[in-house]
Symmetry: C2
Subunit: 324 residues, 2 copies
Amino acid sequence: MFSSLELQQKVQQLFADENFLHEPRQLYEPIAYTLSLGGKRIRPFLLLAATDLFGGDIDMAANYAIGIETFHNFTLLHDDLMDRSPIRRGQPTVYRKWNDNIAILSGDAMNILAWRYFIKKQHPNLLPILQTFEQTSMQICEGQQYDMDFETRDDVSIPEYMEMIRLKTAVLLAAALKIGALAACAPDDDIQNLYQFGINIGLAFQLRDDLLDAYGDIATFGKQTGTDIKDNKKTFLYLQALEKADPSQQQLLTSLFKTQPDNPQQKINQVIDTYNTLNIRKDVEERIAQLHSQAATCLDSIHRPDEAKEVLRQMAAKLLDRNV
Amino acid sequence: MFSSLELQQKVQQLFADENFLHEPRQLYEPIAYTLSLGGKRIRPFLLLAATDLFGGDIDMAANYAIGIETFHNFTLLHDDLMDRSPIRRGQPTVYRKWNDNIAILSGDAMNILAWRYFIKKQHPNLLPILQTFEQTSMQICEGQQYDMDFETRDDVSIPEYMEMIRLKTAVLLAAALKIGALAACAPDDDIQNLYQFGINIGLAFQLRDDLLDAYGDIATFGKQTGTDIKDNKKTFLYLQALEKADPSQQQLLTSLFKTQPDNPQQKINQVIDTYNTLNIRKDVEERIAQLHSQAATCLDSIHRPDEAKEVLRQMAAKLLDRNV
């Protein structure tokens, strides 16, 4: 078994050893650039940790780890283009640094490149591994579409929102774990529980993200606080606030979420004041704790020694209690 | 063995039977729309014909046929967006009918959907089939990038152009044949020859396309004649003309290919007059005939009875002698 630190180092090494630069440069430079920006590399970490949990060979699973991170970065590249987000991880996004067409085509190539890593070698579980990857990839597109649909809808419910973030965020964390377990030929029931652990962690992770946008500190979080409010993004906080609000608060929130002021600080303050009045932060913290507890139950039910689960238990705690 | 007509009907039936419409609608409608526009369905036809050539079960290869056509249509969807082409097969393209973001995301989903068809079932040759599909997909991105790079370059050589169209067009026709042959567990040397047959046909097919753009009839070809000239696209005709031109003709061509007149007919006429003076049409016809002959040699060397190759021989002739 490997420690968290050893797995993290393994993941870093995988990407350090890989050469993403080929000809034509204009196609591959944005890919190498995107993958060099780092990020937390959560998905490859989870994948290798799952392989290790079931006594599998993490070197055999390494290609899947690179593949899933490559796919994740492809989705960020195209999402940034669609959302017109100029900055990612403190650096200009691909469509800004190059142009829209380069972002479209290099993203397409990254999507394909992810598959290359999945099909480098034969594996007894190759077909279920590929099917998991394909289904998950498609679900992420569906989640992104729901997210875009929600922008123009005024009647998004909390269950609809939870389903959207399940598709857009949770399934890829869960699939990373499942693929890691499949690579180790783990038993079916354990794989199901590990997947469900990942779904719960993923949902909680996104709710933590929503919370940090409103209550995080830009110095530690690295993102501008209040961006979701500025962009009228209907996060869990907003939907929960709408549900608890009296008619005048509802009126205030819905009208504020139709504005795009040049200087948004006053709007952000007004929305956060309303969230505070309605105790939204506590509601979200409770929902995160509940999902965390459900995740722990899933992890507990897996037929592996308790100490072997420590890496995943720590990772879950780190993802959900993070300030960044 | 199936006749050409039977294979064509089989391909039509495959797409008629498939339901591409799922939720969310905004994601899947553009996919169903794109795949409903028809087209010649050359790639799935070639794939099934190759399976049949080696006595394979075409029903077992059907998913690969759908997958390769889905992938091909994904590339058209994103190419039309990048090239800002408003019309495809007489209908508005996805980015025009919906918008850019819908075109990006539904294209991404189509790319993934293609993989779904490739991994539906186990197959003894699954890994080489998937590796062929992945390599080919990536080569097509590379070809599209070279095509975009060439727009801003003044020094494109004919070998560079041939390599670009090999990547952008020929490899997918060749891969369709190779995958069909792999699905039938054909011998390696026959697969190589069939692939090379496809490359030669693919190159010739693109040269025919270049020729038809300048000399085709809009009524039969379905595209506006002279579009490449209007758009300053450096086709084989242009590069060949530059090579044969005297300094004053070179000067005329290069300066005309920097203009974007509102009414391009005069420019088109001037360029075609120059092509005519330089006998470019004959040069291209000769190159096509040469590639056709090389393709025939590849097909001849495959260890199958001559009559079994008739479907592919006819298809090659149809693709290369077409007016449309």
